[in-house]
């Protein structure tokens, strides 16, 4: 086994977001999902001074800056849509696994947008991961 740098970084994300998943369960014992999202962005804002790039940010291409900002918009919109799905009578045991399948969108678009491909063995890994996501979030 060989953990490439991307896999190490992904493992950090996995653990951090996994803990968030647990804390999210606990936070909604006290406040609504919407309030929880707003306070979560409050936590994001606390990190901002540490990440502040200064004027260097204007050196990057205008398109890439747009993608970065839009990624934030879409992430928060996704969370809002998830809460609304749950409030419109969707059962969490169905909505959660369904929304956890968002990597499928990426997998379908990557060949056209980024011209990347994966090996057959990696396809098996992706299928296993998607089944795992479905089973774990049910």
């Amino acid at each position: 086994m060989h953990f490439a740098p991307w896999l190490w970084y992904s493992a950090v994300t996995l653990v951090a977001w996994g803990i968030v998943g647990l804390l999210q369960k606990l936070s909604t014992n006290y406040i609504s999902a919407e309030s929880s999202l707003i306070w979560l962005v409050g936590g994001f804002l606390l990190l901002e001074p540490l990440l502040y790039p200064g004027l260097a940010v204007f050196h990057y291409s205008r398109w890439n800056l747009t993608w970065a900002l839009l990624s934030g918009v879409l992430n928060a919109l996704g969370a809002w849509a998830l809460f609304t799905a749950l409030k419109s009578g969707g059962k969490a045991s169905i909505v959660a696994p369904l929304t956890a399948l968002y990597p499928l969108v990426v997998i379908m678009l990557v060949p056209f947008v980024l011209h990347e491909s994966i090996t057959r063995l990696q396809v098996v890994g992706v299928v296993c991961a998607l089944i795992a996501v479905l089973l774990l979030s049910a």
Partner: protein, 252 residues
Amino acid sequence: MLRRGKTRELNLALAHDLARFGGLIRVVGPSFESSALGVGGCEVPVVPETLAPLFEIVPVQAAALRMAELRGIRPGSFRYALQVAVNEAEFRPAAGVVMQSALQEETVVTSKHRWNARWFWYSMICVLCWGGWALLSKLGSREIPPETMQFLFTVGTIPVCLALLIGTHGRLEKSPHGITYGILNGILSGVGGLALFAAYHSDGNTSLITVATALYPMITVLLAITILRERFRFIQALGLVFAAVAIVIFSL
């Protein structure tokens, strides 16, 4: 109502929650249950589990119906919440629920067909938004370093948050526990986001990174079982096995 069946633990947790917020708890069930909880009770005989609803639920509901009539409240109407969703497919009236079904007629709101259910389309919007978020994160990360990506990402979330605040008429719950968890979640999500942008910034494969990081429920499940002492279900065990296989394949 504390039946000794499968929902006993849930009922106990609900009773404790109600008590925590100043609710008055009365146990309708065998006397040993009320003495175990140390609260007043309404004793009913010990009967087989299938018959328990008849003894434990129906009389209480009949009394509640009469009390509502006396106070001029229309039974089954929603006074404090918008609606309670019940999935029709799983709504099988049992002996004790026959009366309940008359009261709950209005609560059955879930659409029969998934395709014209609003929740389904909101779920699809969520999938598309999150798919777009992952893809755009990669596109931006080709040039922009992780710290700046996370900085800009946060700036992007602010307008949606403001819209959400306006939508809820500025009603932001301020429970100290809720705020602490929320902010802690934000910091941890930010750290996770930084690592994700770092992964995208490296030359790793976009699909594999997206799928690998989407496996985070495996950590949540493991923590919920070890820390919250939640029940370990077979389906979760199966999920963990698939996740492990996927990670091993990604590391080959």
